[in-house]
């Protein structure tokens, strides 16, 4: 089980390879990568990600532990960045290892749904026109009802 909160960039491919190689008894690896995407007008200059140090690690660790209890998982990993990111940069990733694909997929989706509205991170978009805190979305809140 791994939870990493860091400012620096990381190599998703390297992380997924290392994670997979640790779990050769697990036949199924699911991953999700979140990337800063430009807006429709292509005016995004940067995304600033603020976090609550201490609580971020704690909240994500609890979410991961819940996933490990609820699904039959060999392991789970969450890496989440903070600081200033440019369009195209990786914000975060999740990886799950399981014997069966259903467990790997569901646990990864569960982790993502919880990270979206229960991990103490806040995003600020800096475009050519404005600086805006990204509002929380009702459908992210609704996504939790599934679990």
């Amino acid at each position: 089980m791994g939870v990493i909160i860091q400012k620096s960039a990381f190599d998703v491919g390297d992380q997924i390879n290392a994670f997979s190689q640790n779990h050769t008894k697990m036949g199924a690896i699911a991953t999700f990568t979140g990337i800063v995407r430009d807006n429709d007008n292509e005016t995004l200059k940067a995304m600033e990600i603020e976090h609550y140090p201490g609580m971020a690690e704690k909240a994500i660790s609890e979410i991961v532990q819940t996933a490990m209890k609820r699904w039959s998982l060999g392991d789970a990993l969450v890496i989440h960045r903070h600081g200033t990111l440019e369009p195209g940069e990786v914000i975060m990733m999740v990886a799950t290892a399981a014997i069966h694909r259903k467990d790997a997929f569901e646990a990864a989706e569960f982790l993502m749904d919880y990270l979206k509205s229960r991990a103490p991170f806040w995003k600020k978009e800096i475009t050519k026109e404005a600086v805006t805190w990204v509002p929380s979305k009702q459908n992210d809140e609704d996504a939790l009802d599934r679990w």
Binding site: Y52, G54, I91, S117, A119, F121, W122, S136
Partner: protein
């Protein structure tokens, strides 16, 4: 007790963290106390439906007693992931 503010709450209040003395029983009481300090605080806490709070790094509701907690934090709904 240490009070932390994040995102637009931090910007509106103007400080990320402060140490305060309080005799408030619950987080609600503390919010009322803070709101009465200056217009900046009043504005930040004017719509509590847009504010979340954590006590010692656990997400809780506003009616939670402060007890002997050391840290309370106020922030908008989280947008992680």
């Amino acid at each position: 007790m240490r009070v932390l503010y994040f995102a637009w709450l931090r910007e509106r209040i103007g400080v990320p963290v402060e140490d305060i003395e309080t005799s408030a029983e619950t987080i609600e009481d503390l919010v009322l106390e803070l709101s009465n300090r200056t217009p900046r605080y009043k504005a930040a806490f004017s719509d509590l439906s847009a504010v979340r709070c954590a006590l010692d790094q656990n997400l809780v509701s506003f009616d939670t007693p402060l007890g002997d907690a050391r840290e309370v934090a106020f922030f908008p709904p989280m947008t992680g992931g």
